[in-house]
Symmetry: D3
Subunit: 244 residues, 6 copies
């Protein structure tokens, strides 16, 4: 078995911490760490929906992802300075939004809008999966804020399930869970899996970075990923059960 640089077993997550309520400004927030990866997730609640959705009795959930310029080992130029958002940023923002919407009943949410911002303060692989996992906690708390303020009905159940995400990959022929940056770079195949607390898939995105992969490799990666998201779901529950 390949020994991992940080001593983990192939099916170990990195240490995960969730600082719920990190921000005193946002209606919901969480500073989440997957090892050296740290993402600040805030959820902004607004009563009302964008014009194109008005009068339909449904809410709206969207997300934006970004990295601080020196979250990475080499400083990156700011997208605001470049004047345009890169393809990777767009792609991840859309992924986070879809992942959250998959567990939201927009009818139960009512005409309210939730904008989730996931800003990567420090990056060491798996920033998108940490972002989704932390975003769920922030979203949860912002929805409860909306319920306290009576923008959401007391009996409404806008959250149908929890959602979390993890990366998996094949390194030197062996499937590994939750890749750190140095592992991610070496992976032949890289997959991000988003799954609900009940163990259903929301997104499966697998990419052959090196050689194309076969069906049995795909199956082993999916097994590993579902075990990982199950543990993340438990950590989310623990964070949400603690007194905020």
């Amino acid at each position: 078995m390949t020994e991992r640089r940080d001593g983990r077993a192939a099916d170990d997550l990195r240490p995960v911490t969730i600082e719920r309520g990190w921000s005193t400004q946002a209606e919901g927030s969480a500073l989440i760490s997957f090892g050296g990866t740290r993402v600040l997730c805030t959820a902004s609640f607004t009563n009302g929906v964008p014009r194109w959705l008005q009068g339909k009795g449904r809410g709206w959930v969207t997300a934006e992802y970004a990295m601080l310029p020196r979250s990475t080992n080499d400083r990156m130029d700011r997208e605001s300075v470049k004047g345009r958002i890169g393809g990777r940023t767009h792609e991840i923002s859309r992924l986070i939004g879809r992942s959250l919407r998959a567990v939201v009943d927009t009818k139960a949410l009512g005409e309210n809008t939730l904008v989730i911002d996931c800003d990567v303060l420090q990056a060491d692989g798996g920033t998108r999966t940490a972002a989704i996992t932390g975003a769920y906690v922030a979203l949860h708390d912002a929805i409860e804020w909306g319920r306290d303020k009576r923008f959401i009905g007391q009996k409404a159940v806008p959250l149908l399930d929890s959602v979390a995400a993890v990366s998996v990959g094949i390194i030197d022929g062996e499937p590994m869970l939750d890749l750190a940056y140095t592992e991610d770079v070496r992976a032949e195949t890289d997959m991000n899996v988003v799954a609900t607390g009940r163990g259903l898939f929301v997104e499966v995105q697998g990419t052959a970075e090196g050689a194309p992969f076969d069906r049995s490799e795909l199956d082993r990666l999916l097994d590993l990923a579902l075990a990982g998201t199950e543990r993340l779901a438990a950590l989310q529950r623990a964070a949400l059960e603690a007194t905020a």
Copy 2:
């Protein structure tokens, strides 16, 4: 069994045509149709590579995807007029590029650059999968052009395999192959699969548009998709065996 609007069986592709060499300007080109979806794929060959890759003895393959404003039922604003490229466009351009690179041996390609442009002239679902399938044909011919011009060695084998893509989805609980636009809109789960001529996966991107999906649904979709890409690989071979 759900009857499909156009009379196809669940595991039927739409009629596929590949007009190889449509463009007289590009080194390789194909106008590909998947039913009402029509994509013009051109491959531009340049001797030399971008500065950051110089002197490494490797080539570069990249792709850009775009839709004509009235390729769709409602006219869309041009991205050039909006002054920025949307997230979806970025995402698909990156997907096409990765898919092609998965079957290219950049060492064998030598210090040459191939830019593949996939412009959707008419859209009726599956534009990204048609684009990948057509792009491979254009890429093939541009590489042969480079060989004729002696930019690529006579015995070099830059293409390791062929690559094609197809969409699959679950509609009313049933897996379906190669979704037309009206089907895509109704699908609960939507998946794009990119696979090589040998039947290996390059990309698997599955998204729960409605309810999250379970492992057995995922397995059935993967089966259906691989059957589809196998047939597309045969159509690519037929097009490339015809006299250009």
Copy 3:
């Protein structure tokens, strides 16, 4: 007399084809060829007008022109990627719009909007003149679509005349009609003439690329151009008389 590379006489058009109704999505469309130049023209009909024109009982016609990146011999960067539209693109879009509006009675059109998109799929000189000539056919059919849908009155006559365009130039001292790309590059003087089916001028744009030109040269170019637009008008009529 200068022999033209493609064997044409000085006053010959290149072979012109008009594939009316090429697009199944647009209300009117034409794929037009002037020799190797191929432009896809679509006309999008919308009931209603922009806010600034509302309540005045008049319609609006506008046009956008663009080139596919590999329509030309050397691949050009996409304007969407550059984030800005070039001066030449702007200039031609405006020319096409003005040319079409010159033959439209916006009162008879009623409060309806027509957006004409002219996308150059392949370029070999004269793209703007082919675009105008094809755009008229697309516009015509979109207006008839609007009449069928009862957005335009049954007796209204929104089109006052037809409109077509052709380039002329002086090469080695001799006036030539409908310049191909290699001719255009060599021309000392280059002129684009837009004229109606009745033979009236809509636009005359002459430019000394080399030495300035005198009045008699200008006169000879105008004669040649009017003969060309007369033949194009006949081809437009033939296309529109065929069953769509």
Copy 4:
């Protein structure tokens, strides 16, 4: 005969003034007025040419046109604030550049670059024609500056001729010279003519704003314009003969 609002005859220019050397910073400059239209033209001389032109022994002349936001009756937004240059601005900048290059022998200019800026301080019709006419004076003086500094040979003749421009139009059926803004708005046909001091055409741009126009109308407009540019050429000569 239509009486003009400002009492001019149909073939009269507005009062034209040329303040040569207005700017103490630029190598050549002129503040030109055509009636209420006032344009500051500066010519910037740089020894050397852009990279793509190096080593060919030829110079480069280019121009940029812009309007101050409150040069017009209603304040316009700044193009710098909008973040993009409009089509009209692009079109006019290109026209000025082509017009100047038509009278420049770039071989005689040597590897030197001239950038002409034409900024409209106040607009009352004919801003592009005033700009071209003033730009020639600024260009002339910047070339002489370059000769004084020995960047241009003492016997070189970079200017082959002078160049000036004027607008003409048909108002209520009658051709008129040098349209003021209120006339321009009413004109059925509007034409800008750029001609050399020797009376040769550099650019002819005629547009039917209302009804298309016939050959005899075109001929009368051309006659009127050439008479106008001849007078402007005399005014340029007078300005350049005065001690700077």
Copy 5:
């Protein structure tokens, strides 16, 4: 005592001229010179306020600053061409707006908007201070125009005071008033002071360009600046007392 290149004493302003009403288009205007620095200031009056201010009975005053590309010794690229406004331009536009608003009673102004444009035609140091000083004159006249048109009440007093600005700096250890460009470049400390006709501060912006400065140096600069703005206030009064 340091001798100044232009022979001025340390506490001398450069020659100041104010051409009030330079523009025939704007409701108020002034072409102001501080030595070789020339700024065209126009004030545009609009009845009504931006949407976010409607119904509050208050007016709005804002300003935009820009430099012509060849206002400086070396030609600068246009911000419209670069597609973005630089930090310095933003900073100065904001400063001018704040300075003017400090002397405006927006209640007395009523729901009217004033946009002040300050375009630097020629730059030789102190462009922002000349702009503020000229902008006040343009603003004054545009407010009077609004009063004449009865958009502002006959007894309303929208202007609480006048406002003017001047630069001061320490050169070779000595405080100097109204720095020309060559002085500005050499200054160790550079300060811009905006003050009202009554001698109160609106803005104080001091920057150590070289070594940090102490309290006594700061005090001497403030004394010098207030003496300068007092003289500028007198020149503004003189300009406004002359018949426009």
Copy 6:
């Protein structure tokens, strides 16, 4: 005496904390809090300088400031999404850069570049002053990193002094130190003072938000500010003396 909402005396700072070395990626970093304001400052060290500075034996220090979208009470749009950087952001980035450069001897720094990023994670007034104060700590550590790596000489003294900043303002007629957001909004006059550890001024920026202010008010604000920066300098020293 006005009672401050948080119980502070007029001349009290808010609680200040400096978490030195917060980032494991950057060469120097500090997470600084001024009460509810939290700014992450990172310093990126690069051996070498921008092209325009090469070969002069001097280094370069620059800074960028930005706010997370939900750092504030109401979510702001991202500048990357808007595609342009606002004037306030530009202004503060430039201020931070100038402030740091005032205490750096670029000769002693050698040909090395330091980019300081100040990202506001949570905003409650005084973000620019907290940013400058934290940036100094990050800069200090990045310079020491460069010394350890031998990019900077062992005896070189690139830092001439420390630098810190604080806001002061007049509220209800009384000068107050280090304004929280709700105080800042109410202040008649608002001033930011940047000063070195030795008590010299680097920047003084005072603005009359309400009524203009007189000389004695200015003097009282300067006294208060210098007392504040003196205490901040002590806190910086304490943080830097602790073991990193």
